[in-house]
């Protein structure tokens, strides 16, 4: 099987580094990655612990298929208690780091305590050590990556690191690996920074063994062909192909969710990225694929050299990670900006300083609304006019937040704390303290239910109700697909493969690959039940942390202010109708707690 059978426990307080056997019983019940990491977290810490304290535990987990020959097998997840929400945080990333960790002989890293001084973890062959990060503390993601590789004379190291944002407590700091890929959401980089852990550098030269190599090759080849037939659009246009659909649909959050359509959408969408301008410049240069991926949805872009953002900054004249739908939404419509180069530059800054673009953009949008209301002025914002549509303000504030300078310190608090500070909590477009992604839940009702019940707060990646939401804009019948897809997504997130494969593969296709890979009989039914177990264990963590039914809600703007335009014009989100049905389907009581029967059925008693 493709498990290495070993985890690495790192106690940053004592400096002890201890290899331990993988708990295969837990791997059997929780698949791997997100699920297995959640089980280890549950068993390793008190959910009531402060997210920023040494008592929080930070886990890097691979899945059973990570590093194998299956398509998209580069995934790993970071699991911890989140500083934005006080809830469980699970953030998933691609790139090459996850596979490299497997090849270095470890299925999972469990990091406890807090180092007195900044350190980085090095796993290079047989050498495993904590080294001083004094010389890279205060450095960007990109500088850190370069320094560590030079320091160890090894350009093959794969590095997951935080930027300055994570060091200085931006609540939505990311862990960035391989320069442009990130475990971006929920502040997992903030927790890493609070532990004085700057980076993890890994070089692995081993491989993985699968249970039945011949069958594995046959199955994964078949799956790659299936994937190729269904994901051509994603390859050509990337995720930002959704921008014009959301515009036409009327679900494109604009100006802090005050509107649902944005006039300038076609200046920042996928077609705009492909368009060659009058100077011969095209924003998109190339696609980029993560480890083992046959989709290649990643974008590599560059900015016009005469653009105000970089005309005097040659260090940014290189190609770098380009816009995806969520970054385009977060730097475009939600802040009213239609300047593709400014949006691209803001994306660079997120990777360079290590921040979640969604949380940053939606927090800035709330600040812009506060500014236009007159609640804050240029005296608060370092002299910058924070009007919607101000592209210069976007890039200035992205940099200030990344470096934690001036008003950037306020933006680094996240939308909820910032809006509470200024006496307008109703302007925070969050659930449980985490900012919304680029889908307005007045148009996408099931998305709203998924946001409200998301275990890590508002998130579009932990369920999949797109089809039913597009076809019917009421709340009727949305609880069941929301619940079912949450369970299924939890299983996919735990496999080591990318959720974008869900466009082509259902449970039988995932099960066939996993069964050829891992010991034990893996069926579609077992995968789905494992996903439900994972979802409920995450819920149990949150309940133990102090969250309640009251946290399963949406901002009043989405519940009371009708969508002003689009195909859902006049609608509000029907959460009150959907939530009781959802709890019932889950086997939870009216307080949103799993019943004894539910826990027993899932082996969680």
């Amino acid at each position: 099987m493709s498990w290495q059978g070993k985890i690495l426990r790192v106690n940053l307080t004592s400096g002890e580094i201890t290899p331990e056997p993988l708990n295969t019983e837990w791997a059997n019940d929780y698949i791997g990655e997100r699920g297995l990491g959640t089980k280890y977290l549950w068993e390793s810490m008190d959910p009531k612990a402060d997210a920023m304290s040494p008592d929080n535990v930070l886990i890097f987990a691979t899945g059973p298929l990570t590093g194998t020959g299956a398509s998209t097998s580069g995934r790993y997840a970071v699991i911890t208690k989140g500083p934005l929400t006080g809830a469980i945080a699970c953030s998933n990333s691609g790139g090459k780091f996850g596979a490299e960790l497997k090849y270095a002989g470890f299925d999972l890293l469990l990091i406890e305590g807090r180092s007195e001084t900044p350190v980085y973890l090095l796993i290079e062959g047989d050498e495993i050590s904590l080294a001083s990060a004094d010389k890279i503390w205060g450095k960007t993601v990109w500088e850190t990556d370069e320094w560590i590789k030079k320091q160890h004379h090894n350009p093959m190291l794969k590095i997951a690191t935080i930027g300055v944002a994570g060091e200085r407590g931006v609540r939505y700091a990311a862990v960035v690996n391989d320069l442009h890929r990130a475990a971006g959401r929920s502040g997992v980089g903030t927790v890493m920074g609070s532990k004085n852990l700057k980076a993890i550098a890994v070089r692995g030269t081993g491989g993985v063994r699968v249970k039945d190599p011949k069958r594995f090759m046959e199955v994964t080849d078949e799956m790659k062909n299936l994937l190729a037939k269904e994901t051509g659009g994603l390859t050509k246009y990337g995720t930002n192909a959704m921008m014009d659909t959301m515009q036409e649909f009327g679900g494109l959050p604009t100006n802090n969710f005050q509107q649902v359509q944005f006039d300038g959408y076609d200046k920042v969408d996928a077609k705009a990225m492909l368009k060659t301008d009058e100077t011969g410049h095209t924003n998109l240069l190339a696609n980029k694929a993560c480890f083992g991926c046959t989709i290649a949805c990643g974008r590599i872009a560059h900015i016009r050299k005469d653009h105000f953002t970089i005309q005097n900054r040659k260090e940014y004249w290189h190609a770098s990670g380009g816009l995806e739908y969520e970054t385009a939404f977060a730097f475009g419509p939600v802040v009213g900006v239609d300047d593709i180069d400014a949006c691209t530059f803001a994306g660079y800054l997120m990777n360079e300083h290590g921040m979640d673009p969604i949380s940053f953009g939606v927090t800035l949008a709330a600040a812009m609304e506060l500014y236009e209301m007159g609640v804050i002025t240029t005296e608060d914002t370092d002299g910058v006019a924070l009007n919607f549509g101000n592209a210069e303000a976007l890039t200035i504030m992205a940099e200030k937040t990344g470096k934690q300078e001036g008003f950037g310190e306020i933006l680094g608090m996240g939308s909820r704390l910032m809006c509470e500070k200024y006496g307008h909590p109703e302007l925070s477009m969050t659930v449980k303290g985490q900012e919304f992604a680029g889908y307005d839940s007045r148009a996408l009702q099931g998305m709203g239910l998924g946001y409200a019940t998301g275990n890590r707060g508002a998130c579009h990646l932990k369920h999949d109700t797109f089809d039913v939401d597009m076809d019917d804009q009421t709340g009727e019948g949305k609880a069941e697909p929301c619940k079912t897809s949450q369970d299924w997504t939890a299983a996919v997130d735990s496999s080591g493969l990318c959720m974008f494969t869900m466009a082509a593969w259902g449970a039988p296709e995932f099960a066939a690959q996993l069964d050829a890979d891992s010991e034990g009989e893996w069926t579609a039914e077992r995968l789905i039940q494992s996903g439900e177990r994972i979802w409920n264990l995450e819920r149990m963590f949150n309940l133990a942390a102090g969250l309640t039914r009251a946290d399963d809600t949406l901002p009043e703007r989405l519940l009371k202010d009708p969508a002003p335009s689009g195909t859902a014009k006049g609608r509000v989100n029907e959460l009150d109708r959907m939530l009781p049905e959802y709890y019932d389907l889950r086997g939870w009581n009216e307080a949103g707690e799993p019943t004894e029967d539910t826990l027993g059925r899932l082996g969680l008693s």
């Binding site: 192909a241 649909f249 996928a270 089809d467 466009a503």
Partner: protein, 77 residues
């Protein structure tokens, strides 16, 4: 009759026209066939800004001058 057409997302690769001529009484499904867009590659169709669910495409009759938007499915991301 002449129907104005817009498509979104990757559907631009299947349909590059901005209008289609159809016989009187044609439905949304008829229009999709005429445009060469497979029904299973469509997330939603709107006509003059009103959503037309999948089950109603066959029964929704178009009239001259309608503006039809054919939206690609959403996939998250």
């Amino acid at each position: 009759m002449r129907i104005q057409v817009r498509v979104t997302g990757h559907l631009i690769d299947l349909c590059s026209v901005d209008a289609v001529e159809l016989p009187e009484g044609a439905s949304v499904d008829d229009a999709l066939v005429a445009l060469g867009i497979p029904s299973d590659q469509v997330g939603l169709v709107s006509v003059d800004g009103e959503a037309v669910p999948k089950a109603k495409r066959g029964g929704t009759t178009l009239t001259d001058g309608n503006e039809m938007v054919v939206m690609a499915p959403l996939t998250g991301g």
